[in-house]
C-alpha cells in the first residue's frame, strides 16, 4: 500500500472551506400546538393513539406503529422520571465548560415519551436515575416558543 502515515498535519496541504447554506425550520403542525401550550399556558401536552394505547410526548400527528392520524390532545402534567443522565464537562470542541451541565432523559409520567433537558436546582451528587423531577418554566413574558421556555427540570420536593 502506498499510503504513508502522516503524523505531522502540517505536511497535509489543505484549504479551509464553507458550505454556504443556512436553514429556517418550522415547528410543524404538532410542534406549533405543543410550543403554544408551553408558551401561553405553561402546559406540556401529548397526543394519544387509542388503537395502540400510547401517549406521544413530544406530540405527533400520526402513530408510527399503526399509522392512524392522532387528534386526541391531552395535558400530561409537568412531572417526570429521570431515565438516565450525563454530566457534560466539555463543550463540543473539547474545551472545559466553566460549569458542568447535567442533561437528562426525562420520561413524562403517565406517557410513553419524554424530553431531553437540563437538570437544575439540584446538587449533582443527589441526581439519580429514577428521581422524580418537574419542569420549571421561564416567566411568561420571556417565553418564545422554544424547548428552552422550560428553564430546566428540578427535583420534586
Amino acid at each position: 500500500m502506498s499510503i504513508e502515515k502522516i503524523s505531522d498535519p502540517r505536511q497535509v496541504r489543505h484549504w479551509p472551506g464553507h458550505m454556504e447554506a443556512d436553514y429556517i425550520y418550522t415547528h410543524g403542525i404538532a410542534g406549533e400546538r405543543f410550543f403554544k401550550e408551553i408558551k401561553e399556558n405553561g402546559r406540556i401536552t401529548g397526543t394519544r393513539c387509542k388503537h395502540c394505547n400510547l401517549v406521544y410526548v413530544p406530540p405527533r400527528i400520526y402513530c408510527e406503529r399503526c399509522f392512524e392520524k392522532l387528534e386526541e390532545w391531552i395535558d400530561v402534567g409537568t412531572k417526570g422520571t429521570i431515565q438516565t443522565f450525563t454530566v457534560a464537562y466539555v463543550d463540543i470542541d473539547g474545551s472545559k465548560l466553566k460549569q458542568p451541565t447535567t442533561y437528562a432523559m426525562i420520561k413524562i409520567n403517565g406517557t410513553n415519551g419524554g424530553l431531553l433537558h437540563k437538570i437544575g436546582e439540584a446538587n449533582l451528587k443527589d441526581v439519580k436515575i429514577g428521581m422524580q423531577v418537574e419542569a420549571v418554566f421561564k416567566p411568561k413574558e420571556e417565553r418564545e416558543g422554544s424547548v428552552n421556555d422550560i428553564k430546566h427540570f428540578k427535583p420534586v420536593k
Binding site: M1, S2, I3, E4, K5, I6, P9, Q11, V12, R13, P16, G17, M19, Y23, Y25, H27, G28, G31, F35, Y56, P58, E64, Q83, T84, F85, T86, V87, A88, Y89, V90, D91, I92, D93, G94, Y103, A104, M105, I106, K107, N112, G113, G114, L115, L116, H117, K118, I129, S146, V147, N148
Partner: protein, 388 residues
C-alpha cells in the same frame, strides 16, 4: 437459501486508518478497491455492479459525495448505487452488495465504503450537531458525546455494571489493534489509564471513545458459479439483516438495542443459526465506544442481557478465548472512518474465516462469523453472517 443465487466474498481491501491522511476520499476508495480486486485476481472488466457506502456528506464536505466517489469505487459506466444508514452504513453496504448478486441481476459486485472525517474542521463533532431534531433537541446544545453518555449510563444502571468492567473492552481492543497493519490507535493501556483519562461527559471518558479517522474498505462479491472459478477459498454470505427503531429516542429504553436483536434474528434465520453463542466462532460487533461492544454482544444474542461484561472479565472475548470479539482491534483500536470502519469488520471476518488474518488469527479454525454495525440516532442495526 434466500435469494436466487448464493453469494460469496472473493476479495477484500483496506487502507490505513489515520487522521489527516493526505489522500482524498476518492484516492482512498481507489486504494481499497484496487487491493480488493487484486486479491481476487480480477480487473474492473470483471465487475458488473457497484454498491457504495458513505456516512453523512458533512464529513467529507462534499454534498452528494456518492457521485463524487463513483470513478474511484470502480463505478465508471456501471450500475452504481450509494446506500446510507448513518453509522450502520458499512455493514449495510455489504448487505446491499449481497442483494445485487443474490437477486440474479449481477454475477459480481464491488462493495466499497469510505469516510474522510478529518475534512470537517476543526472537528467532525460539529457535523453531528445537525443530525439532531432542530426544534426539540438542538436548542439544548446537544452534542454527540452526551447522547452516548445517556445510553451508557442507562445500560450501566440497569445491570449494575461498573466503569472498570467496561474499560476492559478498550484495553482489549487497543491491544488487538497492535497486530493490525492499518490500525490508528493500537496501544498497551490499562484499566487505570481509561479511568484516569479526561472526563468528557460522565460516564464517557476520553479512552472510552474511538478516534476521528480517514479510510476506505472494499469487498468483491460473486455468485456461486462465478466465485468457484475465481477462488478455491470463497467465504459465503449466509445471512443479512437490518432493522430500525423509532427516531424518537426519548421514547425508548436505551439499556438494550432491540433493533440489533431484530436485525440479528433476520440474519440468523437466513443462515439457519439457532444457538448463536455456540454456532458463531468469531464476531465483530460495532464498538465506537467501549460499552457499545458489550451492548451489541447482547443485541446479537451472543450472551444474555447484562452478561457481556462478565464474559469480558473472564477473558472469553479475548482473541484466544471461547468467543473472540473484535480480534481486529475494532473501531477503538483500528479507527473509526464511519462507513469504512463497518466494512473493515466484514473484511476482518472474511480474513479470519480464510485463515489469512496473520498475527490476528483466532485459533480453532473458525467457520462462522458475524459482523455488525449500528447507527442513525442510536436506532439502527445491520448484521451479516459469513461462513467458510
Amino acid at each position: 437459501m434466500f435469494g436466487k443465487k448464493r453469494v460469496a466474498i472473493v476479495g477484500a481491501g483496506l487502507t490505513l486508518f489515520r487522521r489527516n491522511l493526505k489522500e482524498t476520499g476518492k484516492e482512498l476508495c481507489y486504494e481499497a478497491t484496487k487491493m480488493a480486486l487484486d486479491s481476487a485476481g480480477l480487473t474492473l472488466k470483471d465487475i458488473d455492479s457497484v454498491a457504495f457506502g458513505s456516512a453523512p456528506d458533512a464529513f467529507d464536505g462534499i454534498h452528494m459525495k456518492g457521485e463524487n466517489m463513483i470513478d474511484s469505487a470502480g463505478g465508471w459506466r456501471k450500475p452504481f448505487s450509494r446506500v446510507f444508514v448513518g453509522g450502520g452504513t458499512g455493514v449495510f453496504t455489504a448487505n446491499a452488495g449481497w442483494w445485487h448478486v443474490a437477486s440474479g441481476l449481477f454475477d459480481t459486485c464491488l462493495v466499497v465504503a469510505e469516510e474522510k472525517m478529518s475534512s470537517c474542521y476543526p472537528h467532525p463533532a460539529h457535523a453531528f450537531t445537525t443530525i439532531f431534531d432542530p426544534i426539540m433537541s438542538r436548542p439544548l446544545g446537544t452534542t454527540l458525546i452526551w447522547i452516548f453518555a445517556l445510553e451508557m449510563h442507562r445500560y450501566m444502571h440497569r445491570h449494575g455494571i461498573k466503569k472498570e468492567q467496561i474499560a476492559l473492552v478498550s484495553v482489549k481492543n487497543k491491544k488487538n489493534a497492535l497486530d493490525h497493519p492499518c490500525a490508528q490507535l493500537g496501544a498497551n493501556i490499562t484499566v487505570e489509564d481509561v479511568l484516569n483519562s479526561e472526563i468528557m461527559c460522565w460516564p464517557v471518558q476520553r479512552l472510552d471513545i474511538s478516534p476521528t479517522s480517514d479510510g476506505a474498505a472494499a469487498l468483491v462479491l460473486a455468485s456461486e458459479d462465478v466465485a468457484k472459478k475465481i477462488t478455491d477459498n470463497p467465504v459465503w454470505i449466509d445471512g443479512v439483516g437490518w432493522c430500525i427503531d423509532s427516531t424518537y429516542w426519548t421514547n425508548r429504553d436505551l439499556y438494550y438495542p432491540d433493533y440489533v436483536e431484530y436485525a440479528a434474528r433476520m440474519a440468523y434465520r437466513m443462515a439457519g443459526i439457532k444457538n448463536p453463542p455456540k454456532e458463531i466462532d468469531v464476531a465483530e460487533p460495532y464498538d465506537p465506544f467501549d460499552y457499545k461492544e458489550l451492548h451489541h454482544m447482547e443485541g446479537l444474542l451472543l450472551c444474555k442481557k447484562g452478561e457481556a461484561p462478565k464474559l469480558t472479565e473472564e477473558g472469553v472475548t479475548q482473541r484466544d478465548g471461547d468467543l473472540p470479539i473484535n480480534p481486529s482491534g475494532g473501531l477503538l483500536g483500528v479507527g473509526n472512518p464511519i462507513a469504512a470502519a463497518g466494512l473493515m469488520k466484514v473484511c476482518e471476518i472474511f480474513w479470519q474465516l480464510r485463515g489469512e488474518a496473520g498475527k490476528r488469527q483466532v485459533p480453532g479454525d473458525p467457520r462462522t462469523g458475524v459482523a455488525q454495525a449500528w447507527g442513525d440516532l442510536m436506532q439502527y442495526g445491520s448484521v451479516i453472517v459469513l461462513r467458510r
